[in-house]
Amino acid sequence: MSSIATRLVIAFAAVSALPACTSLASVSVTQIPADRSRPVSAEVSNTAFLGIHFDNDFVDELTPELLRECPHGRLTGILTKHQNTSYVIVSTRKVIATGYCVYDPPLREGSPPEAPPAREGG
């Protein structure tokens, strides 16, 4: 029994040592601000045996994580990468978002007023 367990551990280690294959599923870039003094980054991932995933809920954590890095600011210049990495029997999905946090200066007196915000509920 212990020899079987040892062989399993060695086999797992050997498989893990194999180079992984990372493929890019999708990429997107939004407009990039002039003020790039505050870069932010967040990533979420989900690993599954044999690449069998039962939901995509792991993506839901991405936006809150970005917002934590940029409280009360404007997140823009966002580069989003969705990639898959396969380790033979295990695969990992990862979504990485990097961007910039911008704090817009308050409006000066005498400047034209902003357009009124859209009413909710029509």
Binding site: S26, S28, T30, A115
Partner: protein, 135 residues
């Protein structure tokens, strides 16, 4: 035998449409009237496997399929739709978007990557739909 081939011949002529990717950009309707526009860029894609298979069926010879299998080794890699000769066929859309809008102000862009498959060949298409903001 020939009648039974009719659906096999006719159905691919209609083309099967596939949507690979779609993305929606922000839509800003607060700066003026919006005029819609649509831009497309196409390229012919070739399915070498199906081409070899069709040629083998017509000629009743295995050679076209074998050649197609060898050619497939030279087209190794991830494929969205069928392979094309030039991957920059859609690069001109960037300038076309701005030239389509005289005001130069654009919003609500929806970008899609599509394929219309005709079995041995296909139409690989990039479509950009959007709105010009009129002054």
């Amino acid at each position: 035998m020939r009648r039974s081939l009719l659906p096999v011949i006719l159905v691919p002529l209609l083309g099967c449409a596939t949507l690979h990717h779609a993305q929606v950009d922000e839509i800003d309707a607060s700066h003026g009237h919006l005029t819609p526009f649509t831009l497309t860029a196409d390229e012919i894609g070739i399915n070498t496997e199906n081409t070899g298979r069709a040629a083998s069926a017509v000629s009743r010879s295995e050679k076209p399929s074998q050649v197609a299998a060898i050619v497939a080794l030279f087209q190794f890699g991830p494929k969205t739709g069928n392979p094309v000769l030039n991957d920059d066929f859609a690069d001109g859309l960037a300038e076309e978007i701005l030239s389509r809008c005289p005001s130069g102000r654009v919003t609500g862009l929806v970008s899609t990557r599509e394929t219309r498959d005709y079995n041995v060949a296909s139409q690989e298409r990039v479509t950009i739909r959007g709105y010009c903001i009129d002054n």
